[in-house]
Amino acid sequence: MTEPNRPLSPHLQVYRWLPAMAPSILHRASGVFLSLASLLLVYWLVAVARGPEAYAAVGRVFGSLPVRVLLAGAIAAFWYHLIAGLRHLALDADLGFDKVTARRSSAAVVVLAGVATLATLALAWHQLVLS
């Protein structure tokens, strides 16, 4: 049926970023990022098992600025993914499906995740740097 020379109409190139679409893609992206960041956790656990020297080495790696930035990103991804997941759970239970509520809840997810991330980073800063 499809004529091979027919162009495909533009999609992502022209579609406006709706209040629902961006958070959905962020949910996917944060999930992928968390999966990759969990390798750091594995690295840390392996070091725990291998003994004090390895553990000390990991401590130095985790203390370096690039890895700290990565961890801060993982904290943001964790909170976003968790809270957006709870929103999806509510939707699956048929809560908040009307357009206005859905828009508000996806904005609320971004705000809550931001607040939770800042609170976690503040706590970490307090624990690691000030004390």
Binding site: M1, T2, E3, N5, R6, P7, L8, S9, P10, H11, L12, Q13, V14, Y15, R16, L18, P19, A20, M21, S24, I25, H88, L91, D92, D94, F97, D98, K99, A102
Partner: protein, 262 residues
């Protein structure tokens, strides 16, 4: 796998599109940038610019398209019929969202009005996409009453008013394809994912108390792609020009499947 970029021959160029300036003396000038592709030209899609005097034009985007076709450029091709939001023919992507040109007010759009065909479909010409696959998916959910018991001999199959109300709203779907072609999941998986319009139609029969094939309908949908490519992005509900809620209907189908177990 999701292909985010357009195939090379589908990429449109802003230049060298044709430019049709507003008539002299026009006061309320508005520019319309419209996707053009002619199967006979062999050229890539392009964007043409038309300037209209809104004082000489009706209020809706369809009025502008008709004015362009009648008075400026008769080669502009698009579908339209009822001009009052009931036929679904003039569905297109206007100002970055899918809607009906006939019910979309020009005054509600800021700046140049960008008009594209419905997204991620093969283009037949200009704003006319090929909807054959979309219609085939609608047919695939068997959108008609299926029964095993014989009908009462003296009357139609009766239904309580509140049961009828449940199918009232989904029955208002005009199959314009705004919802399905707004869905990123449908863009990447339309070969196997039924999309919001077909699933809303399936749901309309699943919840109809007169229908006796609910189990078979659910069986047919229990598939990782046909149903479960819906990730509740909700672009469909945002796009629907009839203010229906396909996302909610799909969630209800998922809930019914999980409730009945295996």
């Amino acid at each position: 796998m999701a292909e985010f970029r357009l195939p090379a021959h589908s990429r449109y160029t802003e230049q060298p599109g044709q430019h049709h300036p507003a008539p002299a003396g026009a006061t309320r000038v508005r520019e319309f940038r419209i996707y053009r592709w002619n199967p006979d030209s062999g050229a890539k899609p392009r964007i043409d610019r038309y300037e209209l005097d809104l004082d000489q034009c009706g209020p809706m985007v369809l009025d502008a398209l008709l004015k362009i076709k009648n008075e400026i450029d008769p080669t502009l091709t698009f579908r339209r019929s009822c001009r009052e939001g009931i036929c679904g023919s003039c569905a297109m992507n206007i100002d970055g969202a899918n809607t009906l040109a006939c019910t979309c007010a020009i005054s509600g759009i800021h700046g140049a009005v960008r008009i594209f065909p419905l997204p991620h479909l093969p283009v037949i010409k200009d704003l006319v996409p090929d909807l054959s696959h979309f219609y085939a998916q609608y047919a695939a959910v068997e959108p008609w009453l299926k029964t095993r018991t014989p009908p009462p001999p003296d009357r139609e199959r009766l239904q309580a008013p509140e049961d009828q109300e449940r199918v009232d709203r989904p029955s208002a779907c005009i199959l314009c394809a705004c919802c399905s072609t707004s869905c990123p999941s449908y863009w990447w998986n339309s070969d196997r994912y039924l999309g919001p319009a077909a699933l809303l139609a399936a749901w309309r029969w699943i919840v109809d108390t007169r229908d006796e094939a609910q189990g078979e309908r659910l069986d047919a949908l229990e598939d990782p792609f046909r149903l479960y490519r819906c990730h509740t992005i909700m672009n469909c509900t945002e796009a629907c020009p009839k203010d229906l809620n396909p996302a909610r209907a799909i969630a209800d189908i998922k809930r019914r499947l999980s409730a009945r177990g295996h």
